[in-house]
């Protein structure tokens, strides 16, 4: 009788067992949810950190100064010779403007502080460009917005506060009092940071921009695409459509799968040994970087292309064969065009991986500090991820926001590329 009671569902012990089992069921379910929540939370924290640190970099502090384009200073001979104009002392112009704005500053030490701390040293080049563009300005006086120094920028964005003892922050009390006066007069304001998108890298955070890295990334990706897409397509077509099933093609297949999982830094070592040491190609150049990345993305493209080709139904091939097309015509005129959306999707994903890759490019010397914007694939260049790596290593506080902003730009490009891949797949997805 007792045995029977234990297995019945109405028995109290069985009911309590059932309750336990249900509780364990809920616990397990919650555990699963918590796994997903943790992973998603990590993503959210990552993105908010980047946004929180990087968004401010899209704005730049500028100071409005009354600049007197003193003929005595920039063009004493009055000939408006561009050579003289481009080598003149523009620093003095804004220094004079500052002295005029703060007439109470008398002591030598304070004057030197005033000269150095408020305005970025890049302002002299900005002034030079203005004068070279409009030489008629010489002798006149204008109100101009000039880029503020990195420390002022950081102070206004709230990265330093007045509460910290003076010795512990890079900005002195007297400078803060000047900033407050400027704020009071409405002469200091945050504007859109155009320099960030039009400059190359720089030692000074307020002048550092990402254009050089963007161009370098573009050139590198172009080389990667040109080298990997045709070869990847040809390999996939051969393996999927023509290759006999034998030991050699098996070997190739195993190889491609293994190559897809080789650490990226090993490809960097290959690039260093083969392209630089054996073939003597130029160091730091996008050609070498692109070729190295091409070897890395090749397996991705091949695997995706093969999947796309496999999805084209055999009946299409048979029909084309029946109409008298040669094997190559079948593939080139019918199978590959039909598989193209899938092939492109895979290629875009491969390119996105290549865009984010850093380690192999460190190996071939794309870590040089470069101010110039590269013009061709053989110029020394750097790419976005490497620029991020270099800036992340810099000590100045101003580079933190620049680094985060650069990661935002990089992530933006990646999102665009992946979106394109998804759209392609959605638009051309078809069922046979």
């Amino acid at each position: 009788m007792t045995e029977h009671a234990n297995t019945s569902f109405t028995n109290p012990t069985a009911l309590s067992l059932l309750k336990k089992r249900r509780a364990s069921e809920t616990r397990f379910r919650l555990l699963g949810i918590s796994g997903i929540v943790v992973a998603l939370a990590a993503l959210v924290i990552l993105l908010t950190t980047m946004l929180g640190n990087g968004l401010t970099a899209f704005q730049q502090t500028q100071i409005k100064l009354k600049i007197h384009f003193d003929e005595q200073v920039i063009d004493p001979e009055g000939k408006r010779d561009p050579k003289v104009l481009s080598h003149a002392d523009y620093r003095k112009l804004y220094t004079n403007g500052l002295y005029a704005l703060f007439p109470d500053v008398k002591s030598r030490r304070d004057k030197s502080e005033l000269r150095k701390t408020l305005i970025s040293s890049s302002a002299q080049y900005a002034l030079r460009d203005v004068v070279l563009e409009q030489p008629e300005l010489v002798g006149t006086t204008r109100e101009l917005w000039l880029v503020a120094s990195d420390d002022v920028d950081m102070y206004l964005k709230g990265y330093f506060t007045k509460d910290v003892p003076e010795s512990d922050r890079p900005i002195k009390d007297i400078t803060i009092s000047w900033i407050e006066q400027l704020q009071h007069e409405g002469r200091i304001d945050k504007k859109f940071n155009r320099d960030f998108f039009t400059n190359g890298s720089s030692q000074d955070p307020e002048q550092a921009g990402i254009l050089g890295a963007l161009v370098g990334s573009g050139l590198t990706l172009l080389v990667t695409f040109l080298a990997s897409f045709p070869v990847g397509l040809a390999t996939a077509v051969y393996l999927e459509e023509f290759a006999p099933k034998n030991g050699w093609t098996d070997l190739i297949e195993v190889n491609i799968n293994n190559l897809a999982a080789v650490p990226s830094i090993v490809f960097g070592l290959l690039g260093l040994a083969v392209f630089l040491n054996v073939m003597h190609m130029p160091r730091s150049a996008p050609v070498v970087g692109g070729l190295t990345l091409a070897l890395m993305t090749l397996p991705t493209i091949i695997i995706a292309t093969r999947a796309a080709l496999k999805a084209v139904p055999p009946s299409l091939r048979d029909a084309a064969r029946g109409l008298g097309a040669s094997p190559l015509q079948v593939v080139l005129h019918h199978v590959v065009p039909l598989a193209m959306p899938g092939i492109l999707t895979g290629t875009i994903i491969g390119m996105a991986q290549a865009l984010g890759e850093t380690a192999p490019l460190l190996m071939i010397g794309m870590v040089a500090f470069l101010v110039d914007i590269p013009h061709s694939a053989t110029d020394a260049a750097t790419v976005m991820p490497v620029q991020i790596y270099l800036w992340a290593d810099s000590a100045e506080r101003g580079f933190v926001e620049k680094t985060a902003a650069a990661t935002l730009v990089l992530l933006g490009f990646l999102v665009l590329m992946n979106l394109l891949a998804v759209l392609l797949r959605k638009k051309f997805e078809r069922r046979w």
């Binding site: 990590a42 999982a261 890759e357």
Partner: protein, 460 residues
């Protein structure tokens, strides 16, 4: 220079293609198109290929051999003593010559010998350029007119073109083997040079890693020791931490998504999780250095623990986050491959969902999951940027994850970034490390792929 040669080849190719096509139409005049054996496009391609292939071969050969040839001709006038620094001296002098030849300025003036050499360099360069262009033009137009003569109404050009295309296809698929061979050979070559100086046993079992070698013979304390055990230990520690994060979270996420989630949740969560895999590793590295490491260090301080500002823990945690999508999507596939009949059988016996998962599905999927975890481990071992930016470069043999640690990949980067001495044990050791890394990940991948494949076949 290369560009103009390439342009010449492409122009000749386009011309050949056009002429071949036009020729086909000319033969056809007045006849029915079906009388032509191959379509006009093939006639064009036939002539074009006769331009492109020899052109590519000549250009390739020129690119590979020309710089060395010119260098040896220019260097013949310099007296460079043979010795270990010979290649470096040659490189320095060549660089100077190239700068002067391009009209650049050198620091501290230019010696007369260099000026003469740079003139010679420029002359040689232009001679080689005209030779290349001339030979390209002569050979390609010769080949093209030969091809042109063979065209006729009955000529089987389609078969010939297809044969060539096939060879090209086979050639590019062989490239993957060549890349692997290139990796192995280049790593091997340099590693053998390294092992000529340092015995392999010292490398594999030594406990001391300090690759600073003496630049001068009389320098103190610069003998360099290349015991890689601390690097292996560091790699292992960081990989372990990463897997401790990624394995449970990834597995739980996979189980939830394949067994519990509604299709809508699945359609949203899966791609969002995969974003984690698409974030560049340098961004993770920055995140680790900017946020995670200071957070750990501050928390450690608050509870009285010393946490280094660059710790294995920070790098491992962030790497674990990066690996979650690998584990989850691979395990997801494996769990989905478990046949429904097993689940139904378990439910039929009265088991709850959790019991079914724990006692039926996971054991059935275990080999596949192990394979997925192995792939993730190999990913973690090969990861570079996160550790470079967050785990430090000091090779310490320690079991404390709160200390700064270094890994194989970090050492490869630190050894090869910046100024390098050629053929020194320090530089070469990077290739020995690379070889080890390549070998270990290759074995792991091979086992993992095998396990996953074998398991997949079982239920079909």
């Amino acid at each position: 220079m290369t560009l103009s040669a390439l342009t010449l080849v492409i122009v000749l190719l386009a011309m050949g293609t056009y002429m071949g096509r036009r020729h086909a139409f000319k033969i056809l005049e007045g006849r029915h198109p079906s009388e032509l054996h191959s379509r006009p496009n093939y006639h064009g391609a036939f002539v074009g290929l006769y331009a492109a292939l020899p052109g590519a071969v000549i250009l390739m050969g020129w690119l590979i051999f020309e710089p060395d040839l010119i260098q040896s001709m220019v260097m013949a006038h310099f007296n460079i003593p043979e010795g270990p620094t010979m290649t470096e001296q040659v490189m320095v002098i060549m660089n100077k010559i190239k700068i002067v030849a391009a009209g650049g300025q050198l620091m501290g003036g230019v010696s007369e010998q260099i000026t003469i050499a740079s003139q010679q360099y420029n002359e040689l360069k232009s001679v080689s350029f005209y030779t290349l262009m001339g030979s390209l033009f002569v050979v390609l137009s010769g080949a093209m007119s030969f091809a042109y003569m063979q065209l006729g109404i009955e000529s089987r050009v389609r078969n010939k073109v297809e044969k060539v295309v096939r060879v090209i296809l086979i050639g590019s698929s062989t490239l993957s083997i060549l890349v692997t061979l290139g990796i192995v050979l280049s790593l091997m070559f340099e590693a053998i040079l390294f092992f000529g100086q340092i015995p392999p046993t010292d490398f594999l079992f030594g406990l001391q890693w300090s690759p600073q070698t003496a630049l001068r013979a009389d320098q103190v304390g610069g003998s360099g020791s290349f015991g890689a055990i601390p690097l292996f230990a560091g790699t292992l520690m960081i990989t372990l931490i990463a897997m401790l994060v990624a394995a449970p979270i990834g597995l739980l996420a996979a189980v939830f998504m394949s067994e519990y989630a509604t299709p809508l949740v699945r359609a949203w969560v899966k791609p969002v999780l995969e974003i984690l895999a698409g974030v560049p590793t340098v961004v993770y590295g920055f995140f680790a250095a900017l946020t995670v490491a200071p957070f750990l260090s501050n928390t450690g301080q608050a509870i009285g623990l010393h946490v280094a500002s660059e710790s294995a823990l920070a790098a491992g945690l962030v790497m674990g986050i990066m690996i979650i999508p690998f584990v989850s999507s691979l395990s997801d596939d494996v769990i989905n491959a478990v046949p429904q009949s097993l689940r139904d059988g378990s439910y039929g016996l009265g088991a709850t969902k959790a019991e079914t998962i724990k006692q039926v599905i996971l054991p059935a999927a275990l080999p596949g999951i192990v394979g997925a975890l192995l792939l993730a481990v190999s990913r973690a071992i090969g990861e570079t940027m996160i550790v470079v930016m967050a785990a430090g470069a000091a090779a310490k043999l320690s079991a404390n994850p709160l200390e700064s640690m270094t890994t194989v990949t970090v050492q490869i980067v630190t050894l090869l970034v910046g100024d390098q001495e050629f053929d020194s044990a320090k530089t070469l050791s990077a290739f020995a490390l690379g070889l080890t890394l390549f070998g270990v990940t290759l074995i792991l991948n091979f086992i993992a792929l095998r396990v996953v494949q074998k398991y997949r076949e079982q239920y079909d």
